[in-house]
Each structure stands twice: as C-alpha cells, then as structure tokens.
C-alpha cells in the first residue's frame, strides 16, 4: 500500500499549504483532467465508441466503480474485510426501487433513501467489528450476504419475484436508453469518486488509515475506533446502496439475481487488483475485471467453436479459470495493485530521460 511520494516537476513549487494539498497540482495535470472530462462527456457522440454495447459496458463500469469505491474505503483504507458488498447493494436497490414502484417516488427522491437504508443495515452488520478482525469479520459479512438474500427471497414477496421500476426522469428527459443513462451514471460516478477522494484526504480518511495501520496507536491518539469503524461501514454500504439504486433504475427492473455472493467476491477482486487504499486504483481495477469478464464472454464461445473436439462448455468454463489465474498472478506480481504501477509510470514520465 505504500505510495511513491509525489515530487512535482522542477519549477512547480507549493508556496502555501493550500497549494500543497491540492489534488491537481500542475498545469499539465489540469489540462489532462479537462481533456478527460470532455472526452467522457462527448463519448456517446463519437462514432465507433457509441455503440449501445460499449455504453452498456461503461454504465456497468460506472455503477461498479461506485460500489467498489465504498468497499475500498472500508477494506482498503479502514482495513475491515467485507465479502457481502452486493447484499448491501441489494438493500439500496430494493429500497429505492420499491419507493419508486409502490409509492411513486421519483429516482432523485429515492436514491438517497436507498443509500441510507443500505448504510443503516451496514452499520448493524458492522457492530461485530468492535471485537472481530480479519477473517473473522469477513465471516460476519458473509453472514450478512446470506441473511439479507434470505430475507429478500422468503421474507418479502415483491423482492423475491422482482418488479419493474420507472426510468430516471429529469425535466422532460427520460433516461431510458444507454445513451441517455450514460450521463446519469457518469455524473454519479464522478461525484462519488470525488467525494471519496475528499473524504480520504480529510480527518476521516486519516482516522480510517490510522485504524487500519495500528488500532492501538489510533486509540492512544484520541480516535474512537468503534465509532470510526462503524462510520467506515456506513460509508461503504452507503456507496453500495447508491450503486444498487442506480442499477435498478437503469435496468428498470429489480431482481434478486443481480446481487449474488459471486458479485461480492468480484468487488473484492476489483479492489485488490486495482490497489487497496487507492481511489484511482479502484477505477482501474473495476475496468480491468469488467473488461476481462466481457472478453471471456466473447472469446469463450469462439474458442468452443474452434476447438470443437472439447466437450460442450469446457472452453467457456476454462475462461473462468483464466480470470481466476489473472487475479492470482496480480497477487503475486503486483500485490500493491494497478495503482502502484500507475504511480511508477507517472514517476517514470516525470523523470524521463534521467530515470536515475
């Protein structure tokens, strides 16, 4: 998790603390950021990139980024393992969806309650973190996944069957196509990512990292670790809930099958591959895993056709083995995730051609 310190290029000096604390420090960074935003905003109009398939993929990535950001705040920054993230996503999804479908609340009114409901449930399942650490805590969040799924399946009639949800509307616009919903997903993803970045560089982020790195010392420095662990759970599951609310309003259909244990495990894989304790890394990891999964969906059937001597399903099945192997390789070769690789590339670029 160690990061390479940012040495600004010669000629860029921070002459006030405010400047030293900025996220965007140099003119070139600002330029790149603006160019990136313009590209993302114009993307649905760029021929070749704006196929519904691409946009659906990007929307999926955006929603997964929000959910994974929450998980990285809890697991990467605060050090509390959570393998039930998709169950908390489900709480947000069903809360927001049912408010919409049965009480007629518009998306904009139901998205925050969705997040808050997930946070409320998340805090309850976070209580064991006072006493439990590491794998033992992971087990309680696994319990959350199972309990919440069971409640949705047997406890509530509508959630077990699934129900339709209204699309997002703003003014006269109905965001019911991938091209339109793309902007909703983009706005939420950017907003939530910026909020996460800010939270993690403020007193909250420092308290979380202090608890992760040394909870004894954190307590000795006046940080109420119980309170802050629960807060980390609340933030984590709030993000999951917002992601879930977005998902059901995008699919216009809420169903239990979107929130499985397998999805929870994927979120953990995403933040490990991307980089624990890194906001940028979360985004990299989500993109990497999502694209890899997509690749498998395309390459798997093709391989099956070419290698027709194999038994049916063998090639597609092997592709899952392939993704799993990539995740293992990441653990061995780049345990600090893509975020670390990214900072190496950045410092290489900055020092080039005098790398030593």
């Amino acid at each position: 998790m160690s990061r390479i310190p940012f040495y600004p290029p010669s000629g860029v000096y921070s002459d006030s603390y405010r400047k030293d604390m900025r996220i965007v420090k140099t003119g070139k960074q600002r330029l790149m950021a603006i160019a990136g935003l313009v590209f993302l905003a114009a993307l649905p109009f760029i021929p070749g990139l704006n196929a519904p398939y691409h946009l659906r993929l990007l929307i999926g990535i955006g929603i997964a980024v929000i959910v994974a950001l929450g998980l990285n705040i809890l697991t990467g920054y605060c050090g509390q393992l959570n393998v039930g993230q998709s169950a908390f996503m489900m709480v947000g999804a069903f809360t927001s969806g049912m408010l919409n479908a049965y009480w007629g609340w518009p998306f904009w009114a139901s998205v925050i309650p969705g997040g808050l409901a997930a946070a409320g449930v998340g805090v309850i399942f976070g209580i064991p973190s006072v006493r439990l650490k590491g794998l033992y805590l992971a087990l309680t969040t696994l319990g959350a996944q199972i309990i919440l799924t069971w409640i949705a399946l047997y406890g509530v009639t509508v959630t077990s069957a699934g129900f339709t949800v209204e699309p997002v509307r703003l003014g006269g616009i109905v965001f019911n196509t991938p091209q339109k919903f793309y902007y909703v997903a983009l706005a939420f993803t950017l907003g939530m990512a910026l909020a996460a970045k800010n939270l993690m560089r403020s007193r909250l982020g420092r308290a979380f990292i202090a608890i992760r790195d040394n909870d004894r010392a954190a307590e000795g420095m006046g940080i109420d670790i119980f309170k802050y662990k629960l807060l980390a759970f609340a933030i984590c599951t709030f993000y999951a809930g917002i992601g879930g609310a977005l998902l059901v309003h995008y699919m216009m259909w809420a169903q239990l099958e979107s929130f499985t244990l397998q999805d929870s495990v994927w979120y953990v894989a995403m933040i490990i591959v991307g980089g624990l304790g890194s906001i940028e890394g979360t985004i990299f990891g989500v993109i990497f895993i999502t694209v890899l999964k997509e690749l498998v969906l395309v390459v798997g059937p093709m391989a099956q056709e070419t290698l027709s001597f194999l038994p049916i399903g063998a090639a597609s099945g092997m592709m899952l083995v392939f993704i799993g192997s990539v995740a293992i390789l990441f653990g061995v070769l780049e345990p600090r995730g893509m975020a670390h690789r990214w900072s190496l590339i950045k410092s290489f670029y900055r020092l080039w051609p005098f790398g030593y």
Partner: protein, 260 residues
C-alpha cells in the same frame, strides 16, 4: 511555563492495583507527577513500568486505586478519552501508522481538534480545507522543532528506526498534551541518536512546558535530565526522589543499579 511543583500535582496515582490472573503487575502503587517536571520511572525488567504507562493511558483497567489528571478522575476511561483529556504517549515498540507520511501521522493526531463532519469532508473545499490548513500549521511547527523537514512527505514505514522514534514523539506532541508519557524513547539507538532525542525531550519540556514522564533504561540519561525519579521493583514502588538521592539509595542499588 509553570514552575515544577507550582500548582500541585498534574497527575496523581493512588493505590493502583493491577493483576493479570494471579500475576500481580502493580501493587498499591502511589505516586504524583508535578506540573512541568521531568519524572523518570526506572526499574528492572518486569518491574511494571510499561504497565503503569498503559494503566494511566487507559489501555489497562486497574482493579484498585484511582488516577486523577488535572483534577479529573480518569481511572478506567478508554484510551481515546484519556488522550482527549490531555495525556499523550509513545510506545515501547514504535507504533506508527506505517502507510501514512510523517505529515499525515502528525495530522492524524490532530483528529481531536478537528470538527468538520462527514458532509464537509466529502465536499472538502471550505470548512474541511480551512481546518486542515490550520492543523498543518501546528504540525509544521512540530516538524520544525523536531527537525523533520526533510522527511515530512516520506511514508514512515520506509524510515530508519531512530527517525521513527522521533516521528512518534512528534505525533504525541500534535495532541498538544499537558502530560507526555515516553516509554523508552531511546531504546535501540546509537549515542548520537540518543543525544538528539534527549535534546528534543528537553526542548519540549522547556519550550512547551509539557510535563514529561520518562520510562528509560539508560541511567546516564535518567540521572542527567530527571527532576525526580521513581523506582519500581516487582510492581512495587521502592524509592522516590531527586537523582542524587536515588543514586545513594540502598534498596535501589540492590534491586537495580548494582554496586560500584
């Protein structure tokens, strides 16, 4: 700066008893720490020195006795409440936040002074930023005092041992405590590093007027800088007084200092 012994004791331990199962770590332990002084706690291994530090800072709950700090009963308070009351500490085996930079380690200890809530932290611009800048100013003064300017943006996990000890002292200072408990601040250091650390301790004592409790094995340091010394043996206080008296005390020589 308040003179030593000026306003009565800043910390009073009265009849502290601490046992782990049938092992009595501290037995009827009573001593005062006077305002502004440097008090050293010495004694052989297992005498209960670190247990006293852990009991005062709330990491251990004593079974008997009371601890009063600044007139407030802090017996049995959780560590974060004790820290808030104004008692800071360092740990015997440096316990820093390894993934944070030196700067952020110190800023993390400013936690109790920051008020911005979760929403203003998420927005950051405005309240949270202003607060962080103010905290940064305080922290930079400490970095200045402890001569850590060159390493302020390094992750502490990458620092050599001697500097980590210094960061830990800095982190304790960032709490702006009235009382600092230093648990073996010079253990494992070479002579030069020890001299630096002692100079910093004296600087803190003189410039900030902070009361200091020092647990230390290096007798040269203890005899040089302490105003008073408390000697423990097997969880019991066996002597208390200024260095000159302690050096001559029969029981202390027998239990700890040795002949010659």
């Amino acid at each position: 700066m308040t003179l030593p012994g000026g306003d009565g004791p800043i910390l009073t331990c009265e009849g502290i008893g601490l046992a782990f199962g049938r092992v009595q770590a501290l037995l009827n332990m009573s001593f005062d720490v006077r305002r502004g002084e440097i008090l050293s706690i010495i004694g052989p291994n297992g005498a209960g020195k670190t247990s006293v530090v852990n009991t005062i800072t709330g990491f251990y709950r004593p079974q008997q006795g009371t601890i009063r700090f600044n007139g407030q009963d802090i017996t049995g308070l959780p560590p974060h409440r004790v820290a808030k009351a104004g008692v800071a500490r360092t740990f015997q085996n440096t316990e820093l936040f390894a993934g944070l930079t030196v700067l952020d380690n110190l800023l993390a200890a400013r936690h109790i002074f920051l008020r911005s809530n979760i929403l203003s932290c998420a927005i950051y611009l405005g309240l949270a930023e202003r607060e962080d800048i103010r905290a940064r100013q305080v922290v930079e003064d400490i970095i200045d005092l402890l001569e850590m300017e060159a390493i302020r943006k390094q992750e502490v996990g990458t620092l050599p041992y001697g500097q980590r000890k210094r960061v830990e002292l800095g982190r304790a200072l960032a709490l702006e405590p009235d009382l600092i408990l230093l648990d073996e601040p010079t253990v494992g250091m070479n002579l030069e590093e020890k001299e630096d650390m002692v100079r910093f301790i004296l600087d803190v004592s003189e410039e900030k007027g902070t009361t200091i409790v020092l647990v230390e094995h290096d007798m040269d340091i203890v005899m040089d800088i302490s105003d008073r010394i408390v000697v423990f043996d097997f969880g019991v206080k066996i002597a208390e007084g200024p260095p000159a008296e302690i050096k001559k005390d029969e029981r202390v020589i027998r239990a700890y200092l040795g002949e010659g």
